[in-house]
Symmetry: C2
Subunit: 230 residues, 2 copies
Amino acid sequence: MNDHTASHIIRFEQNVLAKNDLMAERNRGWFEGRGILALNLMSSPGAGKTTLLECTLADLAKEVRLSVIEGDQETVRDAERIRRAGARAIQINTGSGCHLDAQMVSAALRKLAPPAHSLVIIENVGNLVCPALFDLGEAEKVVIMSVTEGEDKPLKYPHMFRAAGVMLINKIDLIPHLEFDIERCAQFAREVNPKLEIMHVSARTREGLDPWYQWLRTRIEALGVESAPA
Amino acid sequence: MNDHTASHIIRFEQNVLAKNDLMAERNRGWFEGRGILALNLMSSPGAGKTTLLECTLADLAKEVRLSVIEGDQETVRDAERIRRAGARAIQINTGSGCHLDAQMVSAALRKLAPPAHSLVIIENVGNLVCPALFDLGEAEKVVIMSVTEGEDKPLKYPHMFRAAGVMLINKIDLIPHLEFDIERCAQFAREVNPKLEIMHVSARTREGLDPWYQWLRTRIEALGVESAPA
C-alpha cells in the first residue's frame, strides 16, 4: 500500500465516520425532543446483553416503558426473546457488517415508534472493537464484560472501555469456578477510563442488579419522565 | 447516503479486500515454499485462544517447532505469555483496527523468521466478525467458541463459522455450572457449515485436547515435516 492509497483510506474512513456522526446527532435530537433515554449496550458475543435486558424488562415493567433495537449479523432470535419478555423490539441484521450505525438506528426507530418519555436500549452486534467507533445518538454507552473473558480485556480493547460510561461485570456467579480477580479487572478498566462506573452483576441469578436499576432510574428521572402523561 | 456513495463504498471495500487477497496469496506461497503449516486462530475476546496455545506449546514441545503471531488492539501481554511458554512470538497492535490483515502478517513474518518445516499460529484480534473476511494466507482457519457464550453464536455470526475448518468448543469444564447444550451448539454450527470439524476441549483442565493434537500432527505430517532436517 503506497502513501497515496493510505491517505485515501484514512480520508475515506473519516468521511464514513463524519456522515455517521451527522445522523447520530439527528437521532440524539430526536431522542431529546421526545424525552427518551437511549442507551447503546455493547459487549463481546455471549457476555449476557440479552439476558440483562430480559431481567431489566421483568423487574422494571411497572416503572418504565422499554423498547429495544437488536443488532446481529443474522437471525431474529434476540428480538423474539425480548418480545417474549413483553417489550416492543425490532431486529436489525447487519449481514457481514460488524456494528450498528446511526442510519440503521434511525430507520429502526421509524418502525419501532417508541413512546415519548420512555427508555430505548440498543443492543449492538456482539463485538468489543468496531461498535465503539460509531456513535448512534445514544445518551450513554454501556459495556458488559463477562468474568469468563479474563481480567485484561479493558487493556486489550481500550477504545470500548474508554467510550463507555458504565461497565457491568456480568456472570459473577461463575467466579468460584474460575481464576478471575474482579478487583484487578476493575483496576485495569479504571486505568483506561478513570470515570467509568463499575457494577458487579449476574443477570442469571439476578445478583447485584439493584445499582444498575438505580442508575437507570436516576437517568430517567433526570429526563423528567415522572411528569410525563401516562 | 445516496446510490453513488453506496456503490463507491462497495467498490472501495472490494478494493481493500482484493489488495488483501493478493498479499495473502503471497504469504500462502511463502508458507508453502518453506514447508510451514500456518493456522489463523480466531474467537470472541476471552474464549481461550492464548491458553490453548500455551497448552499446545507445552504438550507438543518435543514434536514441533511452533512460532506465534499475536494480534491485539493494544498491549503485548499475549506475546509475553507465549514467550514465557517457550516459543518465539511477535505482537501486532492494530490500534483501532478490528482484525489482522495479510500485510501485517507479512511484515511480522519478516521479523519472526519462523524456521522451515515448522508450525506458525496466528492469533487474531478477539472478534467473531471482521477477521472472518480477511484471508491472511493461512492453510486453515480455526475458531474457538467458549461454552459461556451460549449455543446460538454459530447462527448469529455465520461468516466466521462458515470460513473455519475446525471449531474448538472450549471451557467444557464449566458446563456443569451453565445451561449450555453442547450437542445443540454443534448442530447449529453444522447447519452453517456441514464440513466443520468440531472438538470439545478445556484448555484449562486439558480435557479433550488429544483430537486437536492429532489433527495438528496429521496436517504437519502431510507437509512432509517428518523428513525435514533437524
